[in-house]
Amino acid sequence: MYEIIEGFLEAARLIVTLDPDVIAISVRSIIISLTATVLASLVAVPLGAAIYFGTFPGRKSLINLIQTLYSLPTVVVGLLIFLLISRVGPFGFMRLLFTPTAMVIAQTILVLPIMTGLTISALSGVDPVIRDTLRSLGATRLQFLANIMREAKFALLATVAIGFGRAISEVGAAILVGGNIMASSFASSTRVLTTAISLETSMGNISESIALGIILLAIALAVNLVITTIQHR
């Protein structure tokens, strides 16, 4: 148990001393996962809206499929992306493997199903009379969506929080397509908090792992506070 206490002390030390490696890793985690969350939102919200308001055949099956994809293991997502972007894959020419870009792509795809599914839930939480009122007031498609989203703001932002949580905490895809590289330049490195935690764990450095875990949670807390602030505005 003392490892946990040690972990807290270590976390405090790393933060207080501004350990440059830890800072680089943390910043990279934030950039990658935030980017992925934003990209995923840009896809998931319109997609969720299209599915929710759509009346195409197979709509129910599609929703079921999306719910099923909640269970997509991160390793499988990592593998699929890996096959696509590895040199012999169809996008191999872009040389994306082992780059932060690849990690963003993987995390984006990873959180898409849950964000799309929760968008559908968020929209279905809006009072039907509100929807009718917007239509009746002569909203264009875009205006309609923008206003429905404003009404569903709270739930949509909760969705973003969940997406970010899943992105920043996943490790399977990050390690497969990122490679957990610690290079001398920031841009070439792909080590993020979770892959660093895995590495420390595999080396038996439990206190360090816990310290990094605490830092990760601190970041998540900060992001959540921002989201909560927007929610209540």
Binding site: R87, F98, S184, S185, L199, S202, M203
Partner: protein, 284 residues
């Protein structure tokens, strides 16, 4: 080859390595020296031997550093790898609980394995062997030891009873598991030393040529992947077998563990059973 993220003048070298080299921090110790000397940037991807080979086979890296002779040979024979050089070696170690329930301390490796299996299959609940079970270099070595002891691994060892358990994870986790279950396991010395402080396990058998663990580096065949970064790859391999770096390897870890983690391959080519060219001749 260069990717868009790097400054133009710097070359990038991608290396897939078995975890033990990375986890011991040996590579972290060597890369800065290389980077400064060759104005290059080294990207290290550490993975199990199987995955590392997969990366190599797909041309996703320029250099591979592994420790599984049989699979290396196949890899080269299939035309994926060239210019193998051996740069370091050490020994595997059979570790187990201090009580040594199978009573195999200081036996020859094959004999120890035979004794453990015997007690295990006989139903002695105290005798357990935890295998990496992940097709890693270490797992390969374990399999070859069973074979050398005269057993058919798939029929007579694996699945022959609850005494033999496949961890299916990395070395560190396997050691943790063996520690928890008070079981035997085969480990590379580097990881064991790194973990030693947290474990109650002790070395049971650590001598015998069959425990030899040989690390090599090889280039991915540019004929297969023409745009691969073969110049820096060559530089890296030549760097590893250079006199200066061989010294570094031989002394690495002494200050921390009181004993070296690796031995330089340079002068011991006969002992480890490779040709002199493989340890000494720089790649042209």
């Amino acid at each position: 080859t260069t990717t868009d993220q790097t400054p133009v003048e710097k070359q990038q070298l991608r290396i897939a390595t078995t975890t033990s080299l990375d986890d011991t921090k040996l590579l972290a110790h060597l890369t800065p020296i290389f980077e400064e000397k060759y104005n290059a940037e080294v990207l290290i991807v550490s993975a199990g031997t199987g995955k590392a080979l997969e990366y190599g086979q797909r041309g996703d890296v320029d250099v591979m550093m592994v420790h599984d002779r049989a699979r290396e040979d196949t890899f080269i024979a299939d035309g994926y790898g060239i210019n193998r050089r051996v740069f370091a070696y050490n020994y595997f170690v059979l570790v187990g609980p201090e009580s040594d329930p199978a009573g195999v301390a200081n036996m020859a490796p094959e004999a120890a394995f035979t004794a453990i299996r015997e007690k295990g299959t006989a139903g002695d609940a105290n005798v357990i062997f935890v295998s990496r079970g992940d097709a890693s270099g270490t797992h390969s070595k374990e399999q070859s030891l069973w074979k050398a002891a005269g057993f058919n691994y798939t029929t007579e060892v694996k699945g022959s009873g609850d005494w033999y358990q496949e961890a299916g994870t990395g070395m560190g986790a396997t050691l943790e598991m063996a520690n928890e279950k008070e079981a035997y396991t085969l480990s590379d010395i580097g990881t064991f030393l790194a973990y030693k402080g947290d474990l109650d396990l002790v070395p049971i058998v650590d001598e015998g040529d069959s425990l030899l663990n040989v690390y090599c580096a090889m280039q991915i065949n540019p004929a297969k992947y023409p745009d691969i970064n073969s110049t820096v790859a060559k530089d890296w391999i030549n760097f590893l077998i250079s006199d200066e770096i061989q010294q570094e390897i031989a002394s690495f870890g002494v200050d921390k563990y009181g004993q070296p983690l690796f031995y330089a391959a340079q002068d011991d080519w006969e002992k480890i059973g490779v040709t002199e060219a493989e340890v000494k001749d720089p790649i042209a």
